[in-house]
Symmetry: none
Subunit: 308 residues, 5 copies
């Protein structure tokens, strides 16, 4: 179909042909289809923050189908969601857009010093619900990181056997690193590298800041004269750290913010060679039509049709 | 058979037909059979508190068959019990009443700051012993919650493959929440939601109090004007939080108390749309005939034939 | 063969016929064969204490075959040993005497506040090495007890599928109980009960003292007037706590001690209805011929042919 | 081919014939092939220390194929590497030299008080990538040691079923022992013994120092008059502790150091009966040709053709 | 390593990565390693013609290891042999050179009108014996051909799942064609094509003669003016018939003949673009050193270093 899509798919020579097919589904779907860019809508607020707090204000959101329809209306590449919601949504929406079953989550009735999510779904679940991918979050820097890496490898092996795409959220966080370190450019690059080494097909990280967490990393980067001044520069270093640019790396928008800030961040990400964005709160917490408009604007930036 | 039972069963469209059959067995069995209400007898005191402390006073209780016979005599919907007892009881009683194999338990030789029960039985055990369901307790709010969620998902997948009903005790408890928070209405609603998201067919929670643990939840509930003044109101909110009332949610009686208090609590539960009760210490710690009488009175309340 | 052996075997009606066959092998083997009594030789010092400390003094012990031969020479019912040693010993000795593969162990390079052994062998290993049983230690009272119970249940299921006997060392120890509580009569009885509930065929506990750890247990035992004055009395209560005497419960000798004390302890154990002993340091740390003599004396006590 | 190779292989009578074949592959490959000695190149710096810190200085190293080619150029016995790199390297190099898939690793974004690596690859991965062996690190002395032992046994069983060699890095480290204790001769001997008991075919330990960590071990070794004065003496004791010299024990070079020190250490190791070396930082952190020369010199020492 | 090897491997884009690795092993091994040429030593005369007839002349050949060692001594690319011999040879030689397990064979105690070999080994056997490939003979022209094609497809599926190379001997023979037709150029070309269509990675055929069996084939070849005058011409046509030269096609020497004839045949084969030879009787029925010399001469011809 698209030369760019074929080029991206050639980076996964040992992946199962069905996995390639499912990754192609995401890359050719929606408003950015065929451009090699991805814009994904994730929703797992009910499990993460509780039902009343998430849905009482806008009762339409109690029904998981509202979010799936929003992703369809905006022409997103895919929709990421947890097990319970997926069991309600999949019978209808698996045929409408690619679904990513989010396979681990954290609830907020207990909040420890280090994040350590629970595995709440499996590849077996994703297969029976018709999803094209499984999603999994790792928190490098957490005391519980190793358990997550092991769970991820287990999931990866199952996904490989079932031909599903593996999408990894790699979010450094926990007692091993500072608050600023969570988005430090060396740490984000390391996080992308770890996800690649652990077998991720699509990697999601946060936009990296100028902060450098590790003295040894700073010394090495300084000595080699790696440019890190702009967000675009830093995005470029992160993408290089994932097998020299041969993995799909997308960037999240983080906490809800002003529209202008969201758009500028995406412009820099696109300039640095990022492959798109995954945007939750910045989209579904706005009214439906406003959310669709913002998602469209972001898509235009990534495919290069935005007036900028 | 019964319009109400069929309606309830229609809420589980993706469940295995054998699971539906086993859930139907519980819903048509005993004195409340066909009404859509469940009254269950659970006994696991030997493992939880030790043999001498539990059985020395009434040596009849050393024999697990005493409790199974009590459940039969009272016309309970089902009997929940641990592995060792089940191996003795099942050959005779699996044909007499639905058995729920309790798959995790805690002993009291070590009591930690956060509850974290041991998995002591499996779906494989339940199948070989002829049980219709497996039971599992999760403690949201415990530092060990995630391990429980993962064990639950594993059990759920096995139960699905074997066609067994999944009964989840969802009891918020542990260092993540306050003592009052264990029965706070927002927390109990969250607990019911988590159990539903994790795939429970039948959910057991505690009667919710007026306390609200989370400020964000209070803000959202206040803003939306959700009525929470009476136990019946709160039961209604909890039932709604479990997929808008499309899961069977039953309420426990908690610590042993006066007969009048037990009956009043069940009246409120029934009024709020609860699906019944699971009552251990309040029944089997009384003399046999008194226990049968109390269970009958509670059943009458739930099926609406009580003078009230 | 033996009326007593057949009677004992009748207590396990749901066990796999191969399990029954293997339990029979232990009960008919060696010098106590056919009497319903067991005297077992366990050796895992290399793993537990290190090679130099265990074997430098008597280099013959570097070779695991020395201990297997000792068990043969003394006519023991069985020999318990860890994986590595078993891989060297089994090709020859599995045909000479029943082998119990010890499936968990602790090394002493790290000693934590609560015991939590590592699982170092599996039923699969026991099968390929020709063992008749697997052995597993649980430490009720340890913060890690639940992990052990779960590992034990997993082992039990595998053993059941493979037709192996399950021998459980149930040693209360850890931060949940006092030092004296480790051998308190109520605690040892509870430990035997837990092992029975978890599916053990043969249970090994320590000789119980007069100490009672739990106030609730003391109240219940006092009220019921259970006699606990002599070691024989206490052994009787412990045996009763394991399904009213319908499980094989044997008692260990503990730390190395004088010959007279060893013999007296075994006399009391036999008098109270214990099923024999498992004796490591008190035998293999003596010279070969002295060890054989002591084991013979103990066997004579248990089968009732000792002059006493 | 070689009498010595056949002799070594005879020490593993219960190993799968394919495992023997793969161990033979390592023993007949490369410049030391047929001598019974092994010189292995391990590289997992990207995962352990991060991409920028490891590869920014010499961008050739960003490509894992550089290291595989170095191992070929130097005639190493085998190359050890982690999953992600192996997926890139294996399609070409599995046919060129024996590959050891490193199945656990630690990243440095979180550094706890006790080492506890994550399992990042499996035997299934090793099989699909054409490796001859799996590698695994245990840290006796760590609070997490038991988890590692259990993961190792699980890996060992899978490796046995697939016919792969099991290479164990046994590095005492953690809060259970002192800093000096990590290389104490009694501790290194214990570490080698544990690896043997856990089923390792090839054991890698650090060169032991004269320090003795355990008083009981010192007493036993002193009493038996075991000579420990030279590194060669201590290597001899360590090799004896691994089933009296019937396991392949190789020694690592540790931190980067002067060439002369590396060579002297290897001379002592060879003199004491060590089976070779595994040398990472001391080789691949040098320029290519210098690294090849050093590896050749070390190989000459171990096969006895060095002028010394 | 070799551009030519990589080019050849690129012709198998859907093969399992392990299959590619094993094919690479054959292509980089031995005296022709890296040139894209293969010289294979096959020995299955004992099964096909009987032991005395095959080995009495040179009793060394009674021991299958003689042939494996001959293949090593001569630097062959691989050695093909039947099950029984492989079980003796594999433990040592699988580490020394690539082994091809021959999976079907015919004995000559019964000779039907049409050849129909027995399946005498499986992929499972090849895996447990450490082989890199399975070999299988089909006889197009036989009334039993379809059964062979089906057995071949079954073997191919197993080989694909296990990552083994599939080597197919395609020998037209049987009541469907004339005696001369067995080596007719159109028939050999057809046989090579059938093998390619059935999934062979490496195809072995006989040197084609000028005879043309099919009138329709002759008409088409004549019309197109395909040159078939020399053996080189005909080899070129056969290679072209196997996916236009994108399958490895090697040629057999057939019955024992004079050295000069063997060499000339190989010169023509090399000239016509053949990928090498598989030479049994013409090598192993000569004395050892003479056989090595002949194999070396043939290798030199194929890699183009021969004087002639």
């Amino acid at each position: 179909m698209s030369t760019r899509v074929d080029e991206i798919l050639s980076w996964y020579p040992t992946a199962d042909p069905r996995t390639i097919g499912n990754l192609r589904r995401m890359l050719v779907h929606g408003r950015t289809g065929g451009t090699g860019k991805l814009v994904v809508l994730p929703v797992d607020q009910g499990f993460e923050h509780g039902p009343g707090r998430s849905f009482a204000a806008n009762p339409a959101g109690y029904d998981p189908r509202y979010h799936a329809q929003l992703a369809v209306d905006a022409g997103c590449s895919a929709h990421a969601l947890p097990l319970g919601a997926c069991e309600l949504v999949a019978p209808r929406y698996a045929a409408e857009l690619p679904l990513i079953l989010k396979c681990n989550s954290s609830d907020s009735l207990y909040v420890g010093t280090d994040p350590e999510p629970a595995v709440t779904a499996s590849v077996e679940d994703a297969v029976r619900l018709g999803c094209v991918a499984v999603g999994f979050t790792i928190y490098p820097g957490s005391s519980g990181r190793n358990r997550m890496y092991e769970q991820l490898r287990s999931l990866a092996r199952d996904a490989d056997a079932a031909g599903l795409v593996l999408v990894v959220w790699s979010y450094p966080r926990g007692s091993g690193i500072s608050k600023d370190g969570q988005t430090a450019v060396d740490v984000v690059a390391y996080a992308a590298h770890l996800a690649a080494q652990l077998g991720a097909h699509v990697i999601k990280v946060k936009p990296p800041t100028e902060h450098i967490e590790s003295d040894q990393a700073r010394a090495a980067l300084d000595k080699a004269g790696v440019p890190l001044g702009t967000l675009a520069d830093r995005v470029r270093h992160v993408v290089q750290s994932a097998f020299d640019g041969h993995r799909v790396v997308i960037f999240s928008g983080g906490a809800a913010k002003e529209t202008a800030a969201v758009l500028e961040e995406n412009r820099q990400t696109a300039l640095g060679g990022g492959f798109g964005t995954i945007m939750g709160r910045n989209s579904f917490q706005r009214p439906h039509d406003e959310a669709v408009q913002l998602l469209h604007d972001v898509m235009d930036i990534h495919v290069g049709t935005s007036p900028s």
